[in-house]
């Protein structure tokens, strides 16, 4: 790991930590969302089945949103231009931001995970540490996807437009609402190129059937591959400033 990666990661963390409103939103929004979900289910036992998919989907969504918008801001305020003129490499920049944003995405994930387990009091079978490790793989992919997609947006409005384009199809076709196997063949094919499909599948396997990480290695490998692919794509498409 290069010194530049740590320097960038440290700066991202310090910057968000000093922005009290953003920090409060990062902490409060997952709590509000989880409370609303809890209130909308009169029988919390239903959540036992839904929770694994919901945890994967929310972690993915929050990770993507946090990173996409924050990274875009780096470009629109011109700081990215300054960074790209310096001797740091594009990969240093992407990995540095990944580590920085990862910390906050992880905090959000921990909030929704512990809220689900201890406030909703759901019944689950797998090991808590294995659930956590799997969720880490999910959010690394989501954070990298946020960095990559933000390259295609010139402002926050355009970035927000990517949410229905990138997130909603995954919610509908990633096995969150109904099993992938029940979808038409051509949609099943599409579902199998979506990272959330593997995230939902792996979480269900661990939490509902009590399987361990070695049993969900395919899901983990796909998520790890997705994280590597998106970080390379993000480095290749990294745009420097507001205009390009």
């Amino acid at each position: 790991m290069t010194d530049a990666v740590w320097t960038i990661a440290k700066r991202v963390i310090t910057q968000i930590r000093r922005d009290h409103r953003t920090l409060a939103m990062i902490l409060v929004v997952p709590l509000v969302v989880m409370t609303l979900i809890g209130l909308s289910f009169p029988d919390l036992k239903v959540l036992d089945y839904i929770a694994p998919a919901l945890l994967a989907a929310l972690a993915f969504f929050f990770g993507f949103l946090l990173t996409g918008i924050s990274f875009l801001r780096e470009r629109s305020q011109g700081t990215m231009e300054r960074l790209t003129v310096s001797p740091v490499t594009r990969l240093d920049i992407v990995v540095g931001y990944l580590f920085g944003f990862f910390v906050f995405a992880l905090i959000q994930t921990l909030i929704i995970l512990f809220y689900t387990i201890y406030v909703f009091d759901i019944t689950y079978r797998g090991q808590l540490w294995e659930i956590l490790v799997f969720q880490v793989a999910v959010i690394i992919g989501a954070v990298n996807l946020g960095i990559f997609i933000s390259s295609f947006a010139r402002n926050e409005f355009q970035m927000v437009q990517f949410i229905p384009l990138v997130i909603l199809p995954q919610m509908f076709m990633g096995g969150l609402l109904w099993p992938v196997e029940q979808m038409p063949d051509y949609l099943q094919w599409f579902a199998h190129i979506l990272p959330l499909t593997y995230a939902v599948d792996g979480m269900r396997e661990i939490m509902l059937t009590g399987k361990g990480l070695p049993d969900v290695w395919v899901d983990l490998a796909v998520l790890a591959g997705f994280a590597v692919l998106t970080s390379v794509l993000a480095a290749l498409t990294l745009r420097k400033g507001p205009g390009g």
Partner: protein
């Protein structure tokens, strides 16, 4: 013989079909303050973005300190973009320290020394713990300059560094730029004001993506044939005459 810090050879660049720079050639001697002067939209910022490697020419080549410009960025370059390009939530000190780190000043004691030196030079040492977002425009501009000079680069690109500054601050910026060139630093400064032009050692008048004249302020003024001509008169003279250098 004066060495050349920046050499631009027959560079052409455009955005889509619109050509911004047209077969532009320019040599910038080391240790001078070289002003790129021209109206808004002349291509000054595009040229600076090409010189720092943010853009790549469609044709022609650029040599920086004798080396062909490449994707691998040089730690010997300092760049102050037109936008203030600072992290608003961070303090002045944190901003400058971050760029010192990025420019490979890894030794803590040496970096702290350089950061202090840069902040004292721009007269912001007393405000080092203030968040940048709470500073005035002029102070942000000075912080931005400190970020560009913290690693003591021998070659500094400044894109409209004096825009929006009050006369007093503008004068102090030029005093500082002059002290840098005396130490051997090469400055490439874009501006559209003739006030700035008078402070430069050499000037390149740019219009419609071309260098229409190049020389010292006195050479350019005298080329008009009128000893009392201002730089503005000189600029207009060359606009009318098309590209020409006073040495011709």
């Amino acid at each position: 013989m004066t060495s050349i810090a920046v050499s631009v050879n027959h560079v052409t660049f455009g955005f889509g079909r619109r050509e911004v720079l047209k077969d532009l050639s320019l040599d910038i001697p080391a240790g001078t303050a070289f002003g790129l002067l021209g109206p808004n939209g002349a291509g000054k910022t595009t040229l600076i973005r090409l010189l720092v490697g943010l853009l790549r020419p469609k044709s022609g080549d650029i040599h920086i300190m004798g080396q062909l410009i490449s994707r691998k960025k040089s730690p010997f370059i300092g760049y102050m973009p037109q936008l203030q390009s600072l992290y608003g939530e961070l303090t002045v000190l944190q901003n400058v320290d971050f760029f010192a780190h990025i420019y490979r000043l890894h030794d803590n004691a040496k970096r702290a020394q350089q950061v202090e030196k840069a902040l004292k030079l721009v007269d912001l040492w007393g405000r080092r713990d203030d968040a940048v977002q709470n500073l005035s425009g002029g102070m942000k501009q000075r912080t931005s300059l400190a970020c560009a000079i913290v690693h003591s680069p021998p070659l500094l690109f400044l894109d409209e560094p004096t825009v929006g500054l009050d006369p007093e601050l503008r004068a102090s910026f030029w005093e500082f730029f002059s002290s840098l060139t005396k130490q051997g630093t090469t400055l490439v400064i874009s501006s559209h004001t003739m006030d700035d032009a008078a402070h430069c050692d050499r000037l390149g008048f740019i219009r419609d993506g071309k260098v229409i004249a190049e020389g010292t302020p006195d050479e350019l003024r005298l080329a008009t044939g009128s000893p009392r001509a201002s730089l503005e008169d000189a600029f207009l003279y060359f606009v009318r005459r098309g590209k020409e250098t006073p040495d011709d």
